[in-house]
């Protein structure tokens, strides 16, 4: 089942001679259980794509569907509710609230959605367990390392029944091992049935995806999928 679908999506900023075509006719589908990475140079439209997928921005032309719902059909309040319930975001700058503990940060989207504080806390702690932060649930962001803060942000993106996870350079400035742990978490959630869209300029992170699409000048120019015989990669050119 496709969780995210973009059909002929265009996004133009400005008009006339000054118009910038951030996206110029993108078709993209992400199924449940699929992680799709988007790569491309700066200005290729990666972040615009992610914002459209999450309903944070509207296309100039074309349609965006999340879990079968056409976003353009939804009134503002229902769009906001869909974003809270269905879509999790992980940004490069984590946007954790410094005055709330890790558990409170993770519980926040649930509470905004009307879940009782007690239930929201319970769910938040379970999600923090899943990202290996059981012991640190009551700490404030400032008392956590960069990697731990990133895990809190991931937990917040995954809490509840999020079926679409959108990640924009989610490993930020983390070292390679910590960054990889973040990708593993994302991959794990997708393997459990979520759909994931990952924007990255790091090919090593894109390696975790089932499919990698290459964006250039607002259009998808190529796609990398699985290889027919991956074993050959290991032995090619190996022995002397």
């Amino acid at each position: 089942m496709s969780i995210l679908e973009l059909r002929g999506v265009h996004r133009t900023h400005g008009t006339g001679e000054l118009a910038v075509h951030a996206l110029a006719g993108v078709d993209l589908t992400v199924e449940a259980g699929e992680l799709v990475a988007v790569m491309g140079p700066s200005g290729s439209g990666k972040s615009t794509l992610l914002n459209l997928a999450g309903g944070l921005d509207r296309p100039t032309r074309g349609e965006v569907f999340v879990a079968g719902q056409r976003l353009a059909d939804l009134p503002v309040r229902r769009l906001a509710a869909l974003r809270r319930r269905m879509v999790g975001y992980v940004f490069q700058d984590l946007n954790l609230l410094p005055s709330l503990t890790a558990a409170e940060n993770v519980a926040m989207p649930l509470e905004l959605d009307g879940v009782s504080p007690r239930r929201a806390q319970r769910t938040a702690r379970a999600t923090l367990d899943a990202v290996g932060l059981t012991e640190l649930a009551d700490r404030y962001p400032d008392d956590l390392s960069g990697g731990q803060q990133q895990r809190v942000a991931i937990a917040r993106a995954l809490v509840g029944d999020r079926r679409l996870v959108l990640a924009d350079e989610p490993t930020g400035a983390l070292d390679s091992v910590t960054g990889e742990a973040v990708l593993q978490l994302l991959r794990g959630r997708v393997d459990q049935g979520a759909a994931g869209l990952l924007v990255t300029h790091e090919a090593r992170h894109a390696g975790w995806a089932d499919r990698v699409v290459f964006l250039r000048d607002g259009v998808i120019v190529d796609t990398a999928g699985p290889l027919p015989r991956p074993e050959d990669l290991l032995t090619a050119g190996g022995a002397e």
């Binding site: 790091e202 894109a206 975790w208 990698v212 607002g218 120019v221 190996g238």
Partner: protein
Amino acid sequence: MSIKHGLLALLERGPMHGYQLRSAFEESTGGTWPLNIGQVYTTLGRLERDELVRSLPEHDGQREYEITDEGRTELTLWFATPVSRADRPRDELAIKLALALTTPGVDVRAVVQGQRTATVRAMQEYTRLKASPAKLADLSWRLVIDAMLFQAEAEVRWLDHCEAELVRQAPAASASAAASASAGSAGAPAPGSPTEPGQPAAPGARAGKGGRR
């Protein structure tokens, strides 16, 4: 890297015969470097000639080899010496791109993208192999795969750099390209492609795409 030093390192663990060495070698390189038994015995023969190993009396039809003091010295030296970049094979990709730039009718950006897709696809598979549950606890294996991943990543970064340079150089080339590019373009990007977003030099960049054909 030579098989010679690999075998010396394995013999430092204790005496082994040829087949044991072969399987230990393959195991420690994560199966990425298969050896045939002939290579093992040829190498052992040379090591023995150079007095870096000695053969022990045959036992149950198998002859074990052990490392000598000279062999240990050689091994220590090997670990202490960085691998020379000059010993590595020449990079076919770099040469191919250099030639693509100067060969008429070649769409260099398409060459770059074709390679990028292939390399990223390989990285997807390396990652999948590395993350397979059976291998997750095997640090040697993961580090060998990581070496391939980082090398592939470096290649992709270099390709990104090449593409950025192509776009940057395009305005200078546009004058000469304008005449030849008018024949139209095949391949990427899609028809109806817009001007480059966020690229004030869009006309030049567009000319660059077609200008190398």
